[in-house]
């Protein structure tokens, strides 16, 4: 009888684990399905001309070169803002901060900044950078907005990387008479650098794919020219997808271009993420300490 009971319990386990596996397959299947669909639909459009030409014939023909360049500029600008700030904040958190009120407030700030909806970042960027600082709708305003948006990501990744540097490294350096800053600059930072860069790449991917924060701060519907200065408006891949899919008068006609743009954006964003994940896995395997 007890064996029957055990048998029943084992059976229940089997069924339950089967359901969990099914959930995993559903989630991975969703990712796979989306990727496969976009690749199949978009691959035909992709070509040298699509990548290097400007939009033509009311955006029903031609390519997306200005949008690619715009997204690269915006993303690079965001990183320029977020990397120095984020790494410095992480150095504070990992190397200087002690338990207490100040640290609690700083952590609360970072945690809540990470939870601010992207469209609110857009409003904020509009209010502060575009209007108050009179930057106008521009590459600069968009980069600053995106930089703030990815700041928590960069801080989180950098702090984790700094914390993984063994304390013996620091102690050895301090014991040799180095000051705390010398220790951080010459010992801790170099050891944490690969981890910091990996995290930054993840932030980069996020910045490249965001739409709402740049809608009112940087993006323009249509531009034949590449941005000439930080105060130019720019086209951007995510915004281009949104515009072609919703606002055009030739929605059906531009469908192939939409898929092509989605494929380019996904390749860029997932490529960056995949790159970061692979480096991280490899680093964990070969870590010297």
């Amino acid at each position: 009888m007890s064996l029957d009971g055990l048998g029943l319990r084992k059976l229940r386990e089997k069924v339950a684990f089967g359901l969990l596996r099914l959930a995993m397959l559903v989630v991975v299947g969703a990712l796979g399905g989306i990727l496969l669909h976009v690749v199949l639909q978009g691959a035909g459009v992709l070509g040298w001309r699509f990548l290097t030409d400007v939009p033509r014939e009311a955006m029903t023909q031609g390519g997306i070169f200005p949008a690619i360049v715009g997204t690269l500029y915006l993303t690079a600008g965001a990183l320029l803002v977020a990397l120095p700030l984020g790494v410095s904040a992480a150095i504070y958190l990992s190397e200087y901060a002690r338990e207490g009120k100040t640290l609690a407030v700083v952590r609360l700030g970072i945690g809540n900044l990470a939870g601010v909806p992207s469209v609110v970042f857009g409003l904020f960027g509009l209010g502060l950078f575009v209007v108050f600082f009179k930057m106008g709708v521009s590459l600069l305003a968009g980069s600053l907005t995106l930089g703030l948006l990815i700041l928590p990501t960069v801080i989180g990744a950098s702090e984790e990387a700094l914390r993984q540097v063994p304390s013996t490294f620091r102690e050895a350096s301090l014991a040799l008479g180095a000051t705390r800053w010398q220790t951080i600059r010459k010992v801790v930072l170099p050891a944490a650098l690969p981890g910091i860069l990996t995290g930054s790449i993840l932030g980069l991917g996020r910045a490249a794919g965001e739409t709402a924060p740049i809608m009112f701060t940087a993006a323009t519907f249509y531009s034949l020219r590449l941005p000439e200065s930080p105060f130019s408006q720019v086209m951007a891949l995510p915004y281009h997808i949104y515009v072609l899919a919703t606002a055009g008068t030739h929605i059906e006609q531009t469908r192939p271009l939409q898929y092509g743009t989605v494929l380019v954006l996904i390749s860029l964003v997932l490529g960056l993420s995949l790159f970061a994940i692979i480096i991280r896995t490899r680093m964990r395997r070969t870590k010297k300490w």
Partner: protein, 308 residues
């Protein structure tokens, strides 16, 4: 390391010590920058949004059901927009919470090492899918399918938006829940198995209760993400400012309203201020979610076997 020892004054290296102090202050300022950014966000949302309340009362704004911002006279009631946001958040949670937690359980306790090595990056990649891409897929692929299969007037509705939002929320829920499951002390699991419990019984009666606060945090952060997400609801939720009566109805959630209308709104108009006021509401709602999540993770943290 012993940081205190180094900040002690040192007569020989007075200037060096002073320099170290300034460097420390610099990094404190960098750390505090996020707090400043939060404050600035609050200031700039309120600075613009507050002007709406010169002409519209707060109850009329929050509870009014008519959103006709471009009519004359205009109506700025956002009740239907709030309900729209709550609807997509609730329905997407119904989909994302069971799936997200199940995936976490699978990754933490069932999957072999090899499977986990592949599946964890897959979940991370899902998290990095740009929202505009999910909006596009919902609009171009799912909506026509839904319209045909379910025989409904439009595939752009609560259900479609919720499915796409669920895809965005699942990675958040999964990764935080999985961390929480791993944080449950190993000896609890081993004790349960040693008593003859099956792995499934151990999972549901020992690991799951032990990780509950972490899972709760993940669920709330996932919901907060769904609530604040813009592009999916902008492209897929349909956009009608109405109180929905079924999941096949079209809604106009708060973020979608801001994103759709800000482009055509004259700077400094009543409508412009109203959109900032909506931003305030959205900000406060998600801030509430995040504070609750932070509270749960602090308050109910499993600190070791002894607190069970």
């Amino acid at each position: 390391m012993g940081p205190a020892a180094l900040s002690e004054p040192n007569r020989l290296h007075g200037s060096k010590t002073r320099r170290e102090k300034w460097i420390q202050r610099f990094f404190l300022a960098a750390g505090g920058f996020s707090v400043l950014a939060m404050l600035l966000i609050v200031v700039f949302l309120f600075k613009e949004g507050i002007w709406l309340f010169a002409t519209v009362s707060i109850p009329d704004f929050l509870f009014g059901q008519a959103w006709y911002p471009t009519y004359d006279p205009a109506d700025f009631g956002i009740a239907s927009l709030i309900v729209g946001s709550l609807a997509v958040t609730a329905v997407s949670s119904l989909i994302a919470v069971p799936l997200g937690v199940a995936v976490a359980l699978y990754l933490a306790e069932v999957a072999t090492h090899r499977v986990r090595e592949w599946m964890k990056p897959a979940v991370e990649l899902l998290a990095s899918l740009p929202s505009v891409v999910l909006g596009f897929v919902g609009m171009v692929v799912l909506a026509p399918l839904m319209q045909e299969w379910l025989d409904i007037p439009s595939g752009l509705n609560i259900l479609n938006a919720s499915l796409m939002l669920a895809i965005m929320a699942i990675p958040t829920i999964t990764s935080i829940s999985e961390d929480a499951l791993h944080a449950v002390p190993r000896e609890l699991k081993e004790a349960s198995l040693a008593l003859g419990a099956t792995r499934w019984e151990t999972l549901t009666r020992v690991l799951l209760p032990g990780a509950l606060s972490g899972i709760g945090t993940g669920v709330i952060l996932g919901m907060s993400r769904a609530m604040g997400e813009t592009m999916v609801v902008l492209m897929v939720a349909g956009g009608a400012a109405q109180i929905p009566s079924s999941i096949f109805d079209s809604v106009r959630p708060l973020p979608a309203t801001i994103a759709a209308e800000m482009g055509e709104t004259p700077f400094g108009s009543e409508h412009y201020y109203a959109l900032f006021a909506i931003g305030m509401v959205l900000f406060l709602i998600t801030l509430g979610f995040n504070l609750v999540a932070a509270h749960i993770s602090r308050r109910y943290q499993q600190k070791g076997a002894s607190t069970l």
